[in-house]
């Protein structure tokens, strides 16, 4: 726990999350403003105070992907470049512990981001939008309690694909660090987000979904709307992917020498 605290402290000092709070806030306000102004649009009938947090979650997820890549840069590449990663290895820590503590710190930060966004989106949507008779989302209609539960569970479930994204960014760093010792910030961000985008395109035609707007939307809607056996499969899939990526990263890290 001490190790995760250390990493959380470093992330906190970097103040990376704060701009995302602001961006998410602006995005939510813009979305609400748009709904309120365009009362004749389809959005006005779709979005209400009950289901707005789910629309907001889609925006939050996009920001979270960028945030997790930035955090991987800060905790791995920047620390490697500045030599502080080397300091951690001069203590009786296993390399596995170093990688996992950084990963869990990023996931905890994402968790905080989600909780704040959930509370905030419920609050502003309750104030500015009509609360609505029922929870409605992508053609599914539910009573308030079920809708609220679905929203909270969606916020939790979406952390699983995000853990896959974070672990992939970590693995990507270890893979490219064999060729490029200290990849630049812009290079790493463009590369990681591009590969994730490509992955998104490749898997967008998965058989279990009939949605046409890409795998990200598929996964999202799938979690939200069909919390059944297949949801468990999705969670298991991303858990296995995360663990596999992390252990692959650790095995590369173990072989790494910190030469003069």
């Amino acid at each position: 726990m001490n190790l995760i605290n250390n990493e959380l402290f470093k992330l906190h000092m970097k103040k990376r999350l704060f701009p995302f709070f602001i961006l998410n806030f602006i995005a939510d306000v813009l979305l609400i403003s748009f709904v309120l102004i365009k009362k004749d649009s389809i959005f006005y009938s779709l979005i209400n105070g009950q289901n707005f947090p789910l629309f907001s979650l889609e925006i939050t997820t996009v920001f979270s992907i960028i945030f997790s890549c930035m955090s991987v840069y800060d905790l791995f590449i920047y620390e490697d470049k500045s030599g502080t990663l080397c300091n951690e290895l001069l203590t009786p820590l296993k390399r596995k512990e170093v990688v996992f503590s950084k990963f869990f710190a990023i996931m905890l930060e994402l968790g905080v981001f989600f909780v704040v966004n959930l509370i905030f989106s419920y609050t502003i949507s309750s104030v500015f939008l009509q609360f609505g008779d029922v929870f409605s989302y992508c053609g599914v209609f539910l009573p308030f309690k079920d809708g609220l539960l679905k929203t909270i569970v969606s916020y939790i479930l979406i952390l699983f694909p995000l853990s896959g994204v974070t672990s992939f960014a970590i693995l990507l760093y270890f893979l490219i660090s064999k060729k490029i010792k200290y990849p630049g910030y812009l290079f790493f961000m463009v590369l990681s987000l591009s590969i994730m985008g490509l992955f998104e395109l490749i898997v967008s035609n998965r058989s279990f979904s009939s949605w046409t707007c890409g795998s990200y939307r598929n996964i999202f809607h799938y979690f939200v709307l069909n919390m059944t056996f297949k949801t468990i499969l999705e969670v298991l899939f991303f858990t296995v992917v995360t663990v596999f990526f992390l252990f692959l990263s650790v095995s590369i890290f173990k072989k790494r020498e910190f030469n003069a």
Binding site: L3, M13, S82
Partner: protein, 288 residues
Amino acid sequence: MSGSLLVQNIIKIRENRSILDNISFEVHPNESLGIFARSGQGKTILSKTIMGLVKIDSGKITINGYGIHQNFEKAICKTGSVVDSPKFYEELTAYQNLLLTANLYGDIPHRRAWEMLELTELQKNKDHKVKSFTPAMKYRLAVARAMINYPWLLILDDPTRELDMQESLNVSYLLEQIRANYSVSMLILSKSKEFLLKTCADMLCMENGKVFSFSHDKKSFDFAEIIDIYSVQKAQITKILYSIPCVSEIQSKEFGLRIKVEKDESKRILDTLLANKVNIDYFLPSGT
């Protein structure tokens, strides 16, 4: 054994060249061993190898009785080190940097960080960001960090790397203080012969990845001469002499000081003392 280091026949080959060539030496508990090597002779890679950052092709490294590759955690938990030039979280304060390191060990109380700041005389800079520190302050902070886990063994790689004479002298004082107050064995690798002579009881030399015993390289230390300085201002003169690199030994005598210096350096020493306006009754080379 507490505070012991045993290096046995270690070999490291890179690009078909032996960087570390069958190196063996031992640091006994509460002893200080210096390894003198010029730049590029393998000091940093040796210290990194001992700390497990670089893998060896053959040989064995044992710290406090535990093999570094077999039982890394136990070998390292009572070892402090400063390898390469010290690196910190520059945006954080000195105290925060120490706390981050203390947290990595799990059971270190936070007051230890404060104690180490006092030891290295950085308590006034506790809340200053490390980026504002001079190289000398950074080095002292690195020593504080290396001492935070109550180590039995301290490994210091080129302490004088970025320091001037006076700062090197301060680090030398600090290490003496540590040795006097804590039971710490030391391995110091440096390119400053004078620094090692002042701080270490035993010395080895390293060249082209090989380590020689002191006697093999004795010729480089043999041409010293003795000078007796008759003066009542012993403390003031001692302070000045410590900042002169060619002075290898200072002994306090009834008449003043007896010093050991490199040959043909006596004039330079006299000039330095006179420039500092100290009162000298006699300055007698060769102990005459």
